[in-house]
Amino acid sequence: MAHPFLDQASRRLTPWLLPVALLAGWQAAVTAGLVSNRFMPAPLDVARAGIAAASTGELWTNLGVSALRALAGFAIGGGIGFTLGLANGLSRVSERLTDTSVQMIRNIPHLSLIPLVILWFGIGEEAKLFLVALGVFFPIYANTLHGIRSVDPGLVEMGRVYGMSRFELFRRVVLPGALPSIFVGLRYGLGIMWLTLIVAETISASSGLGYMAMQAREFMLVDVVVLAILIYALLGKLADALTRQLERVTLSWNPAYRTA
């Protein structure tokens, strides 16, 4: 394509071709009666359910509650994971002290703790925060640690030769060198964040998107259930897009992340 505007428009739109085609096919299949809309409502029905839920404010309340839980849990777990990853990447003593324990806990599927967490915290906010934080902690920790480990020792030596202080060495060499790997952890963490939250809300909650979906199931409102699932997909995509943007800004030096 010669025209730059068309070229860019096509690059923007191409990723959405497949989802839109799927929706269209789905709508056609339901309208033609190939699929019973008791099990699979048509996209237009889902949209109608969405508009209804949005106009009563129920959707926004639940979305807000879920987003707040997700972000708070992410901030706590990610913050601890990042700090511990830095500490263990920079200090042998800290690593020797904590890494074995972390690796042991890591191998327990964190969702298997749900019964225990319900016993501890009931179905309150703490339970969800705890699970999300725990789930997010590991990918951020492991990737931060790996990022710091894989910083080119030649660059660190160069920094020393040129008289950088320890803090300068960290700020100018180690942290930027670890950043690509930290971003990988961030993206994994975001995925686990939604997964954990939804499982936790589905099992035990009195508000939130997962709760909304479970309530709808009670009343056989299939369109609301599908609506909740579609919102998860959009939220996941949104989180991913934000991370990509952040990568593009902070890693612009790296040819692999350069804006096309």
Binding site: M158, Y162, G163, E168, S252, W253, N254
Partner: protein, 289 residues
Amino acid sequence: MLLDALRPEYFGLDRARHAEADDRTETVPDRIGSGASSKDSPRGIAVTVRDLRKDFDGHSVIDGLDLHIPAGQFTAVVGRSGCGKSTLLRLILGLETPSGGRIGLEAPAGTSRRSAPPKRIMFQDPRLLPWARVVDNVAVGLTGLGSKGERRERALAALAEVGLADKAGQWPATLSGGQRQRVALARALVSGPGLLALDEPLGALDALTRIGMQGLIERIWQQQGFTALLVTHDVAEAVALADRILVIDAGRIALDLRVDVPRPRRRGDPDLAALEGRILEHLLGEQTA
């Protein structure tokens, strides 16, 4: 004259104690064949190494090495791989700690401990920070010196010196191998070092780029008058650039040659070729022996 150049010499550290070597030792002028172009106050660091030893896991790499490099001299160190030449350089720079012996660096007269010119090294790979723009990479050479604006200004001047003024705002990833190595050279030189160690800095470059870089290094050395210590496995490069060539074998200086061919030196000069041949013969002779 060439015969003189080929005469192995022993540069004692402490001439009084090594009186027996005196008749074979010459005082080396601060800069040979380049005096005309360097008029600034001398700022080269003199290097004195005495009975230096370095072991790695019980295996001796440097074994009782004595050496004196006068301020401002361009010395090349050649030898087969694994002979300890890079280790010697790293020891002098303080990147390794010696297992025994002493290394003395003598700042030029008239400089206090604080104002003494720094020592710098250029590695075989450029070791640029990929996340810093070219000019900021050069400014790394001024870490802890001056204000941010001053650092930037001096970095730009150093970049102009190596012919890369127009690349200041680029990422290192967009430069060619030779350009990156020139940025590394600018970074090493921007602080006005008294000693510049070059650890096979041109080994990874193609032949034409390498010749260009050699000319650049020689020109800047003549202008600035620092002491240069070049480790290389390219004997032709050593012969083209150095005032003096040390052949290292088994952790000791096996041959210490003066190169009296005046600068600018022509590529393919018969004197240089003869000298190169002689050093190669020595290196190969060791191998077959």
